[in-house]
């Protein structure tokens, strides 16, 4: 087992070789994680960065270094994407220990991480932890969303970034949010324009967004970029259908998606397609933070649970910070600044820099962060998802894709006494499949809230427990053997019914 360069600081003699220690452990190598690891190394913290993916970048800069080797491909992906290259280079040069293909499936409050990599699980002790786990796309539970050929817009973008793949047939983009425009423009640049763009944000979103426009205009670059994307889309002759409701993905005889059907101006419209790409914005990927017990609250403007953090992005759990989109959706540029601030906070708590030094060093990133935040309220209001796209009404719509639990099943569960997602889970198996509620959690909370007529914070969210991803028992048992039995108690605690 490779040891970190700074293991001396936290090394615990006598432990098995599977354990190692670092001053600072960062989970996630998107903009927040990359910036934080680089900043921490500058402050002399031994730093380990872990990411589940095979390379640095997160989703926003997915495959950034490999893409940079292909000039035409790199150019097509645009300036915002290209920005990630400098971050990745700085990270590579920082000296931080970088481990990819590494999945953190447990973190304890005393800052011990259990990491699965190449079929082996090992333990890492951290002086400070940063969770930079980013965002995931909000589920879009419309009728037919489980059909083959229905995917997220983000999935198509990942295929473009990492594999240079574009839709082979007629692609329809549907939903709400800037990512749809960006993807449409990128596909146009790649010579694979979508057939149409179907927009679902309610028309009166404009009214609510307008008061936030002056503040957004203080950083006009962002809005100018958006208008540029719309111009590209218009120039390519791709039609935009605004004000669509009641979306349904229709199946063909081959069982794949055949068409998107939706209501517009009182009439039902059907558009044939081979691929339907849905998007209703992104939400924090909080599974690790929630399993650790970090306090969270509901954001009614962003329609998501978000962790509570202080001015250094430290969560309610001492020594554990959460930065980037995982702390609340603010975009890649803001995430980068948050990562720097979080690393300074970690260095301060470790006593490597004084509070005064940390405050002084944090001034530039805080100012930059404030600038990037300016346009968020406008965008959040303008692209706030319609309730109909977020909370399915038709009884047969699948809510939990893994266990195939429907709206009717959830309604039955509430009728028989389920007050929140955890009871609904026990009644219906929703959230019990391998994705561990990542695909159904937001929908189940919203649906139960709607049925009961109570706000999401009262409904709550799934109680999450490690392991955060299915891990073979043999892998956990191997930990016990390798540790000479010393860790048996800790491992027994993880077994169902243990502890």
């Amino acid at each position: 087992m490779v040891s970190g360069p700074g293991e001396g600081h936290y090394a615990k003699p006598g432990l098995a070789t599977e354990e190692e220690s670092f001053d600072f452990v960062v989970v996630g190598s998107g903009p927040a994680g990359m910036a934080a690891a680089s900043e921490a190394m500058r402050r002399g913290l031994s730093t380990l960065l872990l990411d589940e993916q095979p390379a640095a970048g997160g989703q926003i800069y997915r495959g950034i270094e490999a893409a940079a080797d292909k000039p035409a491909h790199f150019a097509r992906l645009g300036a915002d994407y290209q920005h990630g290259r400098a971050l990745a280079t700085r990270l590579r040069d920082s000296g931080a220990v970088l481990r990819y293909g590494a999945f953190v499936w447990e973190i304890t409050k005393d800052r011990r991480l259990t990491v699965s990599r190449e079929g082996r699980s090992t333990l890492v002790h951290a002086g400070q932890i940063l969770l930079a786990t980013g965002a995931l796309e909000r589920p879009v539970p419309i009728p037919g969303w489980t059909l083959p050929g229905v995917m997220t817009a983000g999935a198509a973008q990942i295929l473009l970034k990492t594999a240079g793949q574009v839709p082979a047939g007629r692609a329809v983009l549907a939903g709400s949010g800037p990512l749809l425009y960006l993807l449409a423009a990128q596909l146009i640049e790649a010579g694979a324009p979508p057939v149409i763009l179907v927009e679902t944000q309610p028309a009166d979103n404009w009214m609510r967004a307008l008061p936030h426009l002056p503040r957004a205009l203080r950083n006009p670059a962002l809005l100018k970029k958006g208008l540029g994307l719309l111009k590209t889309i218009r120039g390519a002759g791709v039609s935009r259908f605004a004000g669509a409701t009641d979306l349904e993905a229709l199946a063909g005889e081959d069982g794949r998606v055949r068409a998107l059907s939706f209501m517009r101006r009182g009439r039902r419209v059907e558009v044939e397609c081979d691929l339907l790409l849905l998007h209703e914005g992104v939400i924090p990927n909080m599974n690790l933070a929630l399993a650790l017990g970090c306090a969270s609250r509901w954001s009614d403007t962003r329609l998501a649970f978000e962790p509570e953090t202080d001015e250094w992005f430290q969560s309610s759990v001492e020594g554990v910070a959460i930065a980037g989109d995982g702390a609340g959706i603010e975009g890649a540029q803001a995430a980068e600044q948050q990562g720097r601030i979080a690393a300074l906070g970690a260095a301060m708590r470790l006593g490597r820099i004084t509070r005064a030094e940390a405050e002084a060093e944090a001034v530039p990133p805080r100012e930059a962060l404030a600038g990037w935040r300016g346009a968020r309220p406008f965008l959040e209001a303008l692209y706030r998802p319609a309730d109909g796209q977020r909370i399915p009404s038709r009884a047969d719509v699948i809510v939990c894709r893994c266990e195939e639990v429907t709206v009717a099943d959830i309604r039955d569960a509430v009728a028989t006494g389920a007050l929140g997602p955890n009871q609904a889970k026990a009644f219906t198996r929703c959230g019990m499949g391998p994705c561990q509620g990542r695909m159904c959690g937001p929908t189940v909370t919203a649906l139960i809230g709607q049925i009961r007529g109570v706000p999401p914070e009262e409904v709550g969210y799934y109680r999450l427990r490690p392991p955060l991803k299915p891990i073979p028992l043999a892998e956990i048992a191997a930990m016990a053997v390798a540790s000479g039995g010393e860790r048996q108690d800790a491992i027994r605690d993880r077994l169902p019914g243990g502890g």
Partner: protein
């Protein structure tokens, strides 16, 4: 469902088998991406109702891309880079528990994290 741009391949072409067909695929592309480009859709059927499914998120979150890779069931196709000689197969319904001499199915196949008896663990050692 997807096609590759000529100037953006993940890596040099290597031979793999997808759904029983020998094809050349850029090395390093994810197995799920390779399956989509090769038209292996659906990539799995569900253990609950046998419904056809294909990748949804491509970022390791949704577990819709579970497939059989080199004989190992329940691999997240979007997380496994393609290598020469890889055999990618559709996963039909519940995964088959590997028969291991001297162990019960429960011991060989049990996993934590998914209470479902259906798709569950990634293999302990994907490369054998």
């Amino acid at each position: 469902m997807f096609r590759r741009l000529p100037d953006a391949a993940a890596g040099p072409l290597v031979p793999v088998t997808i759904d029983g067909q020998g094809v050349m695929v850029p090395e390093g592309e994810s197995a799920a991406a390779a399956a989509l480009a090769a038209g292996m859709v659906p990539t799995r059927t569900t253990p609950v109702s046998g419904a056809p499914r294909a990748p949804w998120c491509m970022m390791g979150v949704c577990f819709e891309c579970l497939m059989e890779i080199d004989g190992e069931p329940n691999m997240q196709g979007c997380m496994v880079p393609v290598r020469a000689g890889m055999v990618i197969r559709r996963q039909e319904g519940a995964r088959r528990l590997p028969a291991m001499p001297g162990t019960s199915h429960e011991a060989a196949g049990a996993s934590l994290g998914a209470a479902s008896g259906a798709p569950a663990a990634a293999p302990a050692n994907p490369q054998g």
